[in-house]
Symmetry: C2
Subunit: 390 residues, 2 copies
DNA sequence: TTACTAATGAAGAGTGTTTGTATTTCTCTC
DNA sequence: GAGAGAAATACAAACACTCTTCATTAGTAA
C-alpha cells in the first residue's frame, strides 16, 4: 500500500485510524493507556476519542474505582455500532450467523436443505435461514453493514458462481445479485474453502500465521489460501482449486471411504466419513485401509499445495476434522516424503462453523477496511453502510 | 502495512516519501509538475526537494528553454547516488551486472564455468565474475548499496542454499555468508526462478500484472511466483518447487528432448533443447513428437501452479523461451484442458538475462524499501548503505 | 509591450506536543 | 474517624511544526 501525503488534516485522519486500531480488540481502556498504545500524546487521543464518540464508533463507560488516583475515563469500541451477516451455503444445510463489529456472535440459525434441491429451492432456504438469524438477533436487514455468503465453486470477483461441481445447479448463478435484492448494504460472495481459511486465521489454528493452506475435506475436497494473512483469491477466484487436476487424487479420495464394506446399506454420503473413521479408530482393518487410501490421495494434493506455496502451516478442516486422531498419522506418513520440507500440519477445531465464521470475518474485513482507510473521511463511513445512532 | 501516526514531522517524512516516489522513474521534471504529481502544494514540494538535494538523492538540471513563460527548475532522481550488483549463478555460466539506482545497467560481465565444477571452483568463478563487472563499472566494492545473487535450489531467508539438485555441491552452502566476506553492504540470496519472475514483472512480459507464475524451463524446470506484484518465497523459501512432486512430469520433461534420435552424438545437455526445437520448427516429425511430449509434461506442473494460484499470467522462460513459436502451441493444447480457466500464457523476452536482471531488481527493491520507509529518517538511509557524496 | 509560466514570500489555518495546574481517589497517620 | 499526602488522571494554555492559499515578483517568448 502506498501512502499519499497531504496536509495536516490527513495526519489527523491517520492518527484517528491509529487510535481506532489501538482501541479495537481491547476491552475498555483508559485514555492515558490508550494514548500509550497509540504512541500519541494524551490531549491528541482525547480529542480523537471525542470525535469517535460523536460519530458513534466509541462509547464511554463508567469509570472503574478501586485503583489509586483519579479514576481513568474508560472508553471502548462500540461493537454494537454495526452488525454483519455471514452465510454458509452447504450441500446439506445452510447456516447464517449475525455478529457485531467486535466479531461477537449475536444470533445464528441453521436450516437443512436437500442435496438435490434446485436453484430456486436452495435460494429460498438461503433467504429463510438468513431471515431466521436476523429475526433471532432482533435486527432489521437495513441494520446490516455487510453480508457475506460462502458457497462451493469458483466465485468471480463480482460474486457470480462461475462453476460449481458440488452444487451443479448453482453454476452461473449471480449469488451476489440475488442477495442484493434483499440487502442494501455491501454484499460479498466467496468460495467456502477460502472463507474457512479466513476463519482459521481468525479464531482457529492459523491465528497469527502468515502463509496458510487450508484443506477442506468432506464429501468434496477443496482448499483456501492465506498469503501474508490475507485471502488469496487469484485472478478469477480460482485459487486453491488444485482438486480439479485429475493428476492428484482428491476427486477419488472419498471413493475409498464409500467402498468400505463395513458401511450399513443406504448410508447417506455425508455420514460415510464419520462411520469409516469411527471404525478405523476402533481398529477395524478394512476401515484403517480405507483411511490409509484416503490419506494417500489427500496427501498428493496437499503436496502440490505445499510445493507450490511453501506455507507456514497446513490446516485440515471440514468433515474429517472430527477425526484428526485417526487421519493425521497416515496423512503425515504419505505427505512428508512428497515435500522438500514437511510443513506444520494441524486439524481445525472450528468444526462445521468454519465457513460461516469465515463469512463473518470476510464481511467484518470489508467494514474494517473502510474504518481504517485514511482516504475515507470518518463522516462518510457510516453513510457508506447505514445510519449509526448516537 | 499499518501506518503509525505521530506528529507533524511524521507527516513531513510521508510527504518526502511521496515526493521521492513521484520523482522516481521519471525523467527530469519541473517543480510545478512534480507538485501536481505528488498532490502537494508547490512550496511544500520545493522545500522537500531542497532536502533531497542536500542529501544527495536528487540533482538539479539546467532549465530547459524554448517554452513560453519562465523556465521551470528541473530536478531528477540521482540514479548515480548508488549502485547494486546482481549475480546469476548458473550451471554453465555466471553472470554479473552492475546497475545504478535507476536500474540502468552500468556494466556486465560473464564467465563460463564447468557444470561439474566443485564448490570452491564455482565460488572462485563467482567472485571473479563479480570483480569483472565491478572493474568494468569503475566502481569499488564499497560503493555498492546492495548485492543479490540468484542460484538454483531452495534458499533460506538467511541466504543458505538448503537444497539444490541442479548444483549438488551447492547444498548446504552459506552463500550469503560467502558474499558478505567480500561486500560490506546488505547481501541477498534468492532462488533463480524467483528472481527471473521478478525480472519479468519489472522489464518483461509481466509488467504491471499482479499475480504471476513464471516457469523457468531449460536443463531443469522450476517456477517463481509473484503475488500482488511481490515475490512470494514461502515460509522456507520453497515456493514454486512444484517440480519436486514426482506426480507432475517436470523431472522427466527433458528426457523427451534428450531421446530425440536426430541429435548429433555427444551433444552437450545445454544445447539439446535448442537443436530439438530447431528441427521441430523445420517440421521434423520426430522432433515435433519430442516437443509434444515435453509440452505434455510441462503442462502438468503448470496446471498445478495455475489451479493452486490462479495467476493472471503464466510466463515461460529459460532455455525454451527462444523457441516459443514451436512450444507455445502444443503447450496450450495440453494445458488448457487441465485448467478451469485457461490462463494468459506468454514467453519471456528477457532470454538469459532474466535471472541477473531479477537479481538487480531484488537488490534495488531492498534499497527502495528503505528509501520509501516512513519509519527511517532520511539521514539514516545513506549511512545504512554507504556514504553518498553530495 | 503583452501574455504566459514559474518562483518567491508572507499570512493563516490545522495539528500535535509539552508543561503546568486542577481534580479525584486512595492510603497512611494521628 | 478525620485530615494530610501520594498517585493517577483530566484539563488548559503555550509553543512548534507543517501545509496551503494568495498576492507578488521573475523570466521567457511572441
Amino acid at each position: 500500500m502506498t501512502i499519499r501525503g497531504g496536509d495536516t488534516s490527513r495526519l489527523r485522519r491517520i492518527n484517528l485510524s491509529t487510535t481506532l486500531r489501538a482501541l479495537r480488540g481491547q476491552g475498555p481502556i483508559g485514555l492515558t493507556d490508550l494514548a500509550r498504545r497509540a504512541a500519541l500524546s494524551r490531549p491528541t487521543v482525547e480529542s480523537l476519542v471525542e470525535e469517535l464518540l460523536a460519530a458513534g464508533w466509541v462509547k464511554e463507560l463508567p469509570p472503574e474505582t478501586g485503583q489509586m488516583g483519579r479514576p481513568a475515563r474508560l472508553v471502548a469500541f462500540r461493537g454494537e455500532a454495526g452488525h454483519v451477516l455471514g452465510i454458509d451455503v452447504g450441500s446439506y444445510s445452510i447456516r447464517a450467523t449475525v455478529a457485531d463489529l467486535d466479531g461477537a456472535e449475536v444470533a445464528r440459525h441453521t436450516e437443512r436443505v436437500s442435496a438435490a434441491a434446485g436453484r430456486a429451492e436452495r435460494l429460498a432456504v438461503l433467504h429463510a435461514t438468513a431471515e431466521g438469524a436476523l429475526a433471532a438477533s432482533g435486527l432489521d436487514a437495513r441494520d446490516l453493514a455487510a453480508v457475506c455468503a460462502g458457497t462451493t465453486g469458483v466465485v468471480t470477483a463480482g460474486g457470480v458462481v462461475r462453476l460449481s461441481y458440488g452444487l451443479p445447479e448453482w453454476t452461473g448463478l449471480d449469488l451476489a445479485g440475488e442477495l442484493r435484492r434483499h440487502y442494501s448494504c455491501p454484499v460479498l460472495v466467496e468460495n467456502d474453502c477460502n472463507l474457512a481459511a479466513l476463519a482459521e486465521g481468525w479464531h482457529g489454528e492459523a491465528r497469527g500465521v502468515s502463509d496458510v493452506a487450508f484443506v477442506l475435506s468432506g464429501v468434496r475436497t477443496g482448499a483456501g489460501i492465506l498469503i501474508g494473512g490475507k485471502l488469496h483469491r487469484g485472478g478469477h477466484g480460482g485459487a486453491g482449486e488444485i482438486g480439479a487436476l485429475p493428476l492428484v487424487g482428491w476427486h477419488r479420495a472419498p471413493s475409498h471411504l464409500n467402498a468400505y464394506p463395513g458401511l450399513p446399506p443406504g448410508t447417506a454420503p455425508e455420514d460415510t466419513a464419520g462411520l469409516v473413521f469411527a471404525d478405523a479408530r476402533a481398529g477395524e482393518p478394512a476401515a484403517r485401509w480405507a483411511v490409509e487410501q484416503y490419506a494417500h490421495d489427500l496427501a498428493e494434493g496437499i503436496a502440490a499445495l505445499v510445493l507450490t506455496l511453501d506455507p507456514d502451516l497446513v490446516v485440515l478442516g471440514g468433515g474429517v476434522s472430527r477425526s484428526g486422531d485417526v487421519l493425521l498419522d497416515p496423512l503425515r506418513r504419505h505427505l512428508d516424503p512428497l515435500c522438500l520440507q514437511p510443513p506444520a500440519l494441524t486439524v481445525s477445531v472450528l468444526g462445521d462453523q468454519a465457513v460461516v465464521l469465515g463469512a463473518v470475518r470476510h464481511a467484518l474485513n470489508h467494514v474494517d477496511a473502510q474504518l481504517y482507510d485514511i482516504d475515507t473521511p470518518l463522516a462518510d463511513i457510516k453513510t457508506n453502510f447505514f445510519n449509526i445512532g448516537v
